[in-house]
C-alpha cells in the first residue's frame, strides 16, 4: 500500500520533470536568458531579433508533433490549430512567414548547434556543449 503511494508520487514527479520544455540557442549566442514573453514574441513573428539586436531564426517542429502542440499551448495558451490559423492570417496578408519546420528534436538541436542565430525548443534531455538553454517552460499537461 505504502509502496504503491510512493510509486505514484515518483511517477508524478518524473512526469512533471518530463513535461519541461527547454528553449535553446547556439552556445556562441550572447543571449544568456530570455523571458517567456520574449520567447513568444520571437516565435509568433512579432520580433525577428534577439533583445541585443542580433537577428534570430526560429525553428519549429512539424505540424502534428506532440511537443509542438505542448510548446505553443504552454507559450500562448492556444492550441495548435489556433496557432496555425494565426499564421494563416499573416501568410495571407503576405510578407510574413512562420518558423521553419524541422522533422524532429535531434534535427532541431543539430541546426541550433550549427546556426548561431537559431532558436528552438526541445524536451528536457542531455544537450551537446554547443547548445545552451535560455529558458525553461513548465508545460501544464
Amino acid at each position: 500500500m505504502m509502496k504503491t503511494f510512493l510509486l505514484m508520487i515518483a511517477l508524478m514527479c518524473s512526469g512533471l520533470a518530463q513535461a519541461e520544455i527547454l528553449v535553446i540557442v547556439n552556445a556562441q549566442n550572447p543571449v544568456i536568458t530570455l523571458e517567456k514573453k520574449q520567447v513568444m514574441d520571437l516565435f509568433m513573428g512579432r520580433v525577428s531579433a534577439f533583445p541585443n539586436g542580433q537577428s534570430a531564426e526560429t525553428l519549429d517542429l512539424k505540424t502534428g508533433m506532440p511537443l509542438r502542440a505542448r510548446f505553443y499551448k504552454t507559450l500562448t495558451g492556444k492550441n495548435e490549430a489556433q496557432v496555425d490559423a494565426y499564421w494563416a492570417t499573416l501568410i495571407f496578408a503576405g510578407r510574413m512567414s512562420p518558423p521553419k519546420q524541422l522533422a524532429d528534436e535531434q534535427t532541431l538541436i543539430a541546426e541550433v548547434a550549427a546556426n548561431t542565430e537559431a532558436i528552438a525548443y526541445v524536451t528536457r534531455q542531455a544537450l551537446p556543449k554547443n547548445v545552451k538553454i535560455v529558458t525553461e517552460l513548465a508545460a501544464r499537461e
Partner: protein, 536 residues
C-alpha cells in the same frame, strides 16, 4: 339642421382628438424610433468592429501593415462606415476612407489586445461611422413608424365616427326629424316601435311621447277653459250691453273708462269721450248734483265699499228733472289710477210717486194747502231750527165768519167753493216760503217767516182782510162777502214752543170774534183772564 351640426360637431371633435393624438404620439414615437435606429446602427458599427477585432489585433500585434490595410479596407466596404484605421504603437499601420477630421465626426473605436495576452494592449481600431446614412435610415424608420401609427389612429377615428353616427347621431337625427314634424295637439306621436331600444334614445322617445301627451292634455284643458271664459264673457257682455241700468267705469278724477248703451241712453250723451279728452269730467257733465256724486266716488274709494244715493241728472229739457239711483263701487286699480264702477237706473217715476204720496199726506185735498199735520210739523221744525232769540216768525190763526150759515143755507158745495177761494187768496197774499194751511173746517193757519217787524205783519193782516171784501160767487147768481177773524201770536215773544204759540194765536182770534169779527189782533198777555164768557 341641429342634428347635422351635432354630427359635424362630433366628427370635428373626434377628428381633432385623433389629430392631436396622432401628432403627439407620432412626435413621441418618431423620436423614440429615431433614437433606437441610431443606437441600433451604432451597435452595428460596434459589432462590425468586434468581427474584425481578432484580425486587427494580430495585425497590430505583429505590426503587419498589409493585414491592417486589409482589415480597414474591408471595414469601409460597409456603407455605415466611411473611414477606418488601425493604430499600433501610436503609429497608424492601416487606414482607409475618410478620417474623422474630414467627416467632422466622432470616432468609434475599440482597443486591440495581444492575441496571446489579453492584458497587453497592442493598438486601437477606430472607424468613422456614416452618420448621415445612419440618420437617414433612422429617419426613414421613424417616419414609417409614425406614418403607420397615424394611419392606425385615423382608421380608429374613422371607425369611432362611423359607430357614433350609426349608434347615436343617426337615431337621434331620425327622432329629431320626426319630432320636428309633430305639432303638439295634432295627436301624432313618435313611432316608438321603430326606436324600440333599451338605451337612452329609446327612453328619450318614450319620454317625449309622454310629454306630448301631457302637453296635449293641457292644451285641451286650456281650450275648454278659454271656451268657457268666452261663453261667460259673452253672457256678461250681454248683461252689460242689454242692461236697462246704466253701467259705467270712471277714474278717480271723473274721466270715463267705459259705459254701456243704457248709460248713454239715460244721460243722453252720444259720444264716448274716452282717450280723446283725458281730463273730461263725465261726472260734472252727467250729474246736476255732481259735487255729491264726486264725494260718493271718493267715499267709496276710501271706505272700499259701495255707496249710493238718488241724484239728479242733466237733461236736454231743463224743465223736466230726471232722477237716477246711483251706486258707486270701487272697481280696482289700473295703471292710470283707481277706478270706480257706477250703476244708475232711472227712478224719476218713483221720485214723482213719492212726491205725490207726500203731497197726499201733507196737503189738504180740497184746497191744496198744507193740512193740519203738515202745519204742525212745519211749526215744530221751524222752532227746532231757530236758535233761541234768533229767528222770529208770526203765527196767524184765521177763522171765517158766518161760514156755518152759508154752509147750512147753500149746501156743502157752496161752502167748499168759499174755502177754495179763500185758500187761493191767502196763498197769493203771502210769500212762497210762508206756510199756509187749513186746519180743518173753516180754520186756517199761516206761518209768516222773516216777520220781524210788527208793522209788516199788520200790513199783511190788513191786506188779507181787505181781500175778503171781494164777494164770492157761491152759486150762480149768488154773491157773498165772507169776513174773517185773525189772531196773531209771535215767536218767540208770545211763546217758546209750538203749542203755546198756537194757543195764544187762538186766544187772540177768539178775542176778535168776541169784539165783532172781521178784524185782526195780536195776542196780549193781559187778556188772559178774559177768555170765553160762559154765557156765550
Amino acid at each position: 339642421m341641429n342634428i347635422q351640426s351635432l354630427h359635424i360637431k362630433v366628427s370635428l371633435s373626434v377628428a381633432a382628438a385623433a389629430l392631436f393624438v396622432v401628432l403627439l404620439s407620432s412626435q413621441f414615437f418618431y423620436q423614440r424610433s429615431y433614437e433606437k435606429s441610431f443606437t441600433d446602427s451604432e451597435r452595428s458599427v460596434q459589432q462590425l468592429l468586434e468581427t474584425v477585432q481578432a484580425t486587427a489585433a494580430i495585425a497590430a500585434y505583429v505590426g503587419n501593415r498589409e493585414l491592417a490595410q486589409q482589415v480597414v479596407t474591408g471595414l469601409t466596404q460597409n456603407d455605415i462606415v466611411v473611414g477606418a484605421k488601425i493604430i499600433a504603437n501610436k503609429e497608424i499601420i492601416g487606414q482607409h476612407g475618410r478620417t474623422s477630421a474630414d467627416a467632422k465626426q466622432k470616432l468609434i473605436s475599440i482597443n486591440l489586445t495581444a492575441p496571446f495576452d489579453e492584458k497587453e494592449k497592442v493598438g486601437e481600431l477606430a472607424v468613422v461611422p456614416n452618420v448621415p446614412l445612419i440618420a437617414l435610415r433612422a429617419r426613414d424608420s421613424a417616419m414609417a413608424t409614425a406614418i403607420g401609427l397615424a394611419a392606425q389612429a385615423a382608421v380608429v377615428a374613422l371607425l369611432v365616427l362611423i359607430l357614433v353616427y350609426w349608434m347615436m347621431t343617426r337615431p337621434l337625427s331620425h327622432l329629431s326629424g320626426r319630432l320636428h314634424r309633430i305639432t303638439p295637439g295634432d295627436g301624432n306621436r313618435l313611432d316608438v316601435a321603430s326606436v324600440q331600444r333599451g338605451d337612452e334614445i329609446g327612453l328619450l322617445a318614450g319620454d317625449i311621447n309622454a310629454l306630448l301627451h301631457t302637453v296635449e292634455t293641457m292644451l285641451e284643458e286650456e281650450r275648454q277653459l278659454r271656451h268657457r271664459v268666452e261663453l261667460l264673457e259673452t253672457r256678461f257682455r250681454g248683461i252689460f250691453e242689454d242692461s236697462s241700468a246704466g253701467i259705467f267705469l270712471v277714474r278717480e278724477r271723473g274721466t270715463l273708462v267705459t259705459a254701456n248703451p243704457a248709460f248713454f241712453h239715460l244721460t243722453g250723451l252720444t259720444e264716448i269721450p274716452q282717450s280723446a279728452t283725458g281730463d273730461d269730467n263725465i261726472i260734472a257733465r252727467v250729474f246736476l248734483d255732481h259735487e255729491q256724486a264726486s264725494s260718493l266716488i271718493k267715499l267709496s274709494l276710501i271706505t272700499k265699499r259701495p255707496h249710493s244715493a238718488d241724484l239728479r241728472i242733466r237733461t236736454e229739457q231743463d224743465n223736466q228733472v230726471r232722477w237716477v239711483h246711483c251706486i258707486f263701487s270701487p272697481a280696482g286699480n289700473t295703471q292710470q289710477g283707481a277706478t270706480v264702477e257706477g250703476v244708475m237706473y232711472d227712478v224719476t217715476q218713483r221720485k214723482y210717486s213719492e212726491e205725490r204720496i207726500r203731497e197726499l199726506a201733507e196737503k189738504d185735498s180740497l184746497t191744496g194747502l198744507s193740512n193740519r199735520q203738515a202745519a204742525e210739523s212745519a211749526l215744530e221744525e221751524l222752532i227746532q231750527q231757530a236758535p233761541v232769540g234768533g229767528k222770529e216768525f208770526a203765527v196767524m190763526l184765521i177763522d171765517l165768519d158766518r161760514f156755518k150759515t152759508i154752509n147750512d143755507t147753500y149746501g156743502h158745495d157752496a161752502g167748499d167753493k168759499v174755502l177754495v177761494t179763500i185758500a187761493a187768496r191767502l196763498r197769493k197774499l203771502v210769500r212762497d216760503s210762508d206756510v199756509v194751511a187749513r186746519l180743518g173746517g173753516d180754520e186756517f193757519l199761516l206761518i209768516l217767516n222773516h216777520a220781524g217787524n210788527i208793522d209788516t205783519i199788520k200790513r199783511i193782516a190788513q191786506k188779507i182782510l181787505d181781500a175778503q171784501q171781494a164777494p164770492i160767487e157761491i152759486q150762480p147768481g149768488v154773491l157773498e162777502k165772507i169776513g174773517m177773524s185773525i189772531g196773531i201770536a209771535l215767536y218767540p215773544e208770545h211763546g217758546d214752543n209750538a203749542l203755546s204759540v198756537r194757543k195764544h194765536a187762538d186766544q187772540a182770534m177768539y178775542i176778535v170774534k168776541r169784539q165783532g169779527k172781521n178784524n185782526y189782533t195780536f195776542y196780549d198777555p193781559c187778556d188772559k183772564e178774559l177768555p170765553l164768557a160762559p154765557s156765550n
